[in-house]
Symmetry: C2
Subunit: 294 residues, 2 copies
């Protein structure tokens, strides 16, 4: 039987020598100004035995929570703490799983930062498509957002794959940031506006999503599994490391005409493989490209 690599889900057009996919064409036409370098002071490296997870923090959305996390990182608070919870199709959670502590420099109680105020001056790029959870959706500073102009006049970061949030107990305790989670499954949008979000994973999601699931309630590791938990080697801000220890990446800007063309290409996939372009997209279904700086 002839050996033949099957081509599907987008590979087909490339394999057959047809024109490159529209999405690829848009990205190939990008200029250096269409990309941005994340602020090193808001770039968190979570170094695990298997590699580096790079998280972009979002001070516009949760300034006090982000500041608290940065204070704890500065004190090396997360070093040696475990990834303690992996719940399938939900979240991977790490940090101060077994206790409730913060470092001296950090605060135990923080204000509610689940939403920010809507303003016409916010540089939001809106998506034209319907959403199950929010009147409008789009992007702000490279983060996905939900928008409710009336009656609440609120904007909030949405829970998508790779979004990072702050574990908390019962209201009104919003969590200190000593325990963080990343979404590893279908966007749990019902959590939007219920919990503080502080950023998103730019690279290394597979290091969080492919971990063994915890067999305890809510995916926490059982006592038997605890000795095998993944431990955090170190959590550092890129800005605190020498240049040589940083990972040089850039992210596609979300506030450019090119990004709008990119969204359009993803709303209507015209690569050879597709039969029926959807004509729509969910805000959580658009990967924002990240690439190495050469």
């Amino acid at each position: 039987m002839k050996r033949f690599a099957i081509a599907w889900l987008g590979l087909a057009a490339v394999a057959n020598g047809a024109p490159p996919p529209i999405t690829a064409q848009v990205l190939e036409s990008s200029q250096p100004s269409d990309w941005r370098r994340p602020d090193p002071d808001n770039t968190l490296y979570l170094d695990l035995p298997a590699g580096r997870v790079i998280i972009e923090l979002a001070p516009r959305f949760a300034p006090e929570h982000v500041a608290n996390i940065k204070a704890m990182v500065h004190d090396k608070f997360f070093d040696g703490l475990p990834i303690g919870r992996v719940q399938d199709n939900y979240v991977t959670q790490w940090g101060d799983i077994d206790e409730i502590r913060v470092t001296e420099a950090a605060k135990r109680k923080l204000p509610d930062e689940t939403v920010i105020a809507w303003s016409k001056s916010l540089p939001v790029v809106k998506l034209p498509d319907a959403d199950s959870y929010a009147p409008e959706t789009g992007w702000l500073d490279g983060f996905t957002v939900g928008i409710e102009r009336k009656p609440s006049s609120q904007v909030w970061m949405t829970h998508c794959y790779g979004t990072v949030g702050v574990g908390r107990g019962d209201w009104p305790d919003t969590g200190s940031g000593s325990e963080l989670y990343a979404v590893i499954g279908q966007a749990p949008r019902h959590l939007d506006r219920n919990i503080v979000l502080v950023g998103r994973v730019l690279r290394g999601m597979e290091l969080l999503s492919s971990l063994p699931r915890g067999s305890g309630a809510l995916g926490f590791y059982s006592d038997e599994e605890k000795p095998r938990r993944t431990l955090i080697r170190g959590a550092r801000l890129a800005g605190e490391l020498p240049e040589a220890a940083r990972t040089a990446i850039e992210v596609l800007r979300t506030d450019t005409p090119l990004f709008t063309r990119y969204v359009e290409a993803r709303r209507n996939r015209r690569e050879g493989w597709f039969v029926r372009p959807a004509g729509h997209i969910d805000v959580c279904n658009l990967p924002i490209p990240v690439r190495d700086i050469k």
Copy 2:
């Protein structure tokens, strides 16, 4: 420092002795008639070294593809074949990855079964919420569906976490079923109506979602990784096995008044932890309970 298990994302109300979550109350009030036992002749066991993945096949949606898969399973076609692709936030794919073959009993070419015809007589339970991709969504036979009554008069199974589909090359080749995939990330709804879906995983998703990601293009394992691929021990229909070798489970019916109450409880989470019930839900965000038969 006092040791204290942090409680969040739904656990809080239980931990604090408050009334049980509304979702739990609905399920506790269920009667035996609110549950169904999947048809053994449409229940596919994918037995892996780490355990069993249970897939419910959907003959209403793709009768010829399901029949073809069953013919191949009967011939033990999948036994020893690899899980050959794991692409983060997308799909895990298994079967005839390296070649294109079918068994003698199966067909190489099958008709387009990406959609079925809409009819008022279909026992669809509809969701009242907006959807980014389809005019209407809901459930049919326990599977999530999109509905477009006009102009196309079509119903189709939607790609959600755990949905199982048939790998294919370029149109109009719809794939034989010798290569199957399961969604392991954010619902890739742009694939709806572009590829044939044949079922969904009822149990064992974590065995597919926590596998190492492939480092090759589209998550295929590289030549270097191939020797470490997970191999399928056996793929069997439950109906072909003796009772003792089957896994006795039942699934919450989706066509009952209780299911409607369950959906409502998930649309508005009123457990103590939640501050703002969403008032909406995405069709891919509703877990359909599966339990052991005791």
